[in-house]
Symmetry: C2
Subunit: 251 residues, 2 copies
DNA sequence: TCACATTTGTCCGTATGTATC
DNA sequence: AGATACATACGGACAAATGTG
């Protein structure tokens, strides 16, 4: 038992398209190919690698889904080196959530913990540029709310900006993944301001948006003053409210 | 600017293979297809969806890389519904690390924070079953070391077991991702016990294994006694040593 | 042990849609 | 607007691997 402790999947037979994708991946890792560079078209690639176009296409699918390239149709199109790996991870995390590998309770609980850790790092490392970004975020949220619009995107983005201000890509990835799930949960239960949404529900949503935005403002002020305990206290209260809102969705 | 705040990629034109993969994915989400179920062979799928086999294959590549299916060749083979999404996320996190989106400093720093949070949850939620697993892990590590073998796998696994004992899949994913990177770093600089490894280096490695194992033992004892401060203190010292070892690798 | 059926892996050729110049 | 370049998609074919009788 426990023979899979070596690596992820060395047992797979090496298929041609896997070799091709691994090959191109290595060129990207080694810096030979950089974001912005264009890969040769499929036919050219098939000639250079000495495989068929179908094999090339399957290799491109892998690279595309792994977040290494994008593909554009039409003249002067083709495979383009582009780093979209963060999007890919977020999407996969969302998949894991939807596969019920993660419960709502788990998510909110972990989020509480992680947000606190992030706040601590922000107090330690954030500079004026970070604070300016957060201020701008709050400003845009305020504008939307005053115009009777939901500020869901901005309110989610606030937490991602916090993770960035913590100056650690791990937190950016983790927080981004968590917030991707939150965004999905929101969009499920308040799908735009369309006709099906009742006026009451919508006003309710605006109110929640405002509450969140006000908490964000308080948190930012505490962070600027490097007052970690207050920031944490406000974040706790904020997440408490968010949690109650999500619970309402799910019942 | 900032037009991508809606979703990940709504701008993509819907390609056939994407519709196919999305279709199958939905069946899995909805529970119509469950792990263990077999999908029809490619030709059958191409008939049912009314597309070519090439299109089906590209859809299967997506599902495979997303962690929803595995594919086996030969008689009574074919696409099999299987949840390997955790492996997929770990692999992607490793990619992100290798793309230099994450520095070693960032990784170890985030790991310090997260391990502490995990310890707190373990003290709160772990039961005897979890402790038994951890004890078994330490036992196996000890055995290996006494037989003059590296216990790298076991020592990495210890931290994953901690995350599981915290009873939160988010931590399992995050810790698993972090440890996947650690494993990669290790394997890069102590590739098996082959001839190229000098006797001195190897003995050195065994010593490190033993140190780690001893720390793990101490941490487990503290956890069993629900002594969080001591567990954290030992974890800090342990990670300090690990960090220094990694620094040696990278210089 | 050995043939056989099944299914993926890979190839080629061709046609179509689409974006760019 | 037309020509070009490219991805997308189709169909048919053979090779290779794998389980089954």
């Amino acid at each position: 038992m426990a023979k899979q402790n070596k690596l992820f999947s060395p047992l797979k037979t090496t298929r041609s398209f896997e070799q091709v994708s691994a090959n191109i991946k290595k060129l990207i890792f080694d810096g030979v190919l950089k974001p912005g560079d264009k890969l040769p078209p499929e036919i050219e690639l098939s000639h250079q690698f000495g495989v068929s176009r179908q094999t090339i296409r399957e290799a491109l699918r892998i690279l595309e889904l792994s977040g290494f390239i994008t593909v554009q149709k039409g003249g002067s199109g083709g495979p383009l080196i582009q780093n979209t790996i963060l999007h890919t991870i977020h999407a996969l995390f969302l998949d894991a959530f939807q596969m019920e590998k993660i419960s709502n309770q788990e998510l909110i609980s972990a989020r509480r913990d992680i947000e606190k850790v992030v706040l601590a790092r922000v107090v330690e490392k954030a500079d004026e540029t970070d604070f300016d970004r957060l201020r701008d975020n709050i400003h845009r949220a305020k504008n939307k709310i005053e115009n009777n619009l939901l500020a869901t995107d901005e309110n989610i983005q606030f937490h991602n900006l916090l993770a960035e201000a913590a100056k650690n890509h791990v937190y950016v990835i983790v927080m981004g993944s968590i917030m991707a799930v939150e965004r999905e949960l929101m969009s499920r239960h308040s799908p735009e301001e369309d006709a099906s949404t009742s006026s009451f529900q919508y006003t309710e949503g605006i109110l929640k948006s405002r509450h969140a935005q006000e908490y964000h403002e308080g948190i930012l002020n505490a962070l600027v003053e490097r007052d970690l305990p207050r920031a944490i206290q406000l974040m706790d209260a904020h997440l408490q409210e968010v949690e109650e809102r999500v619970q309402l969705f799910l019942k």
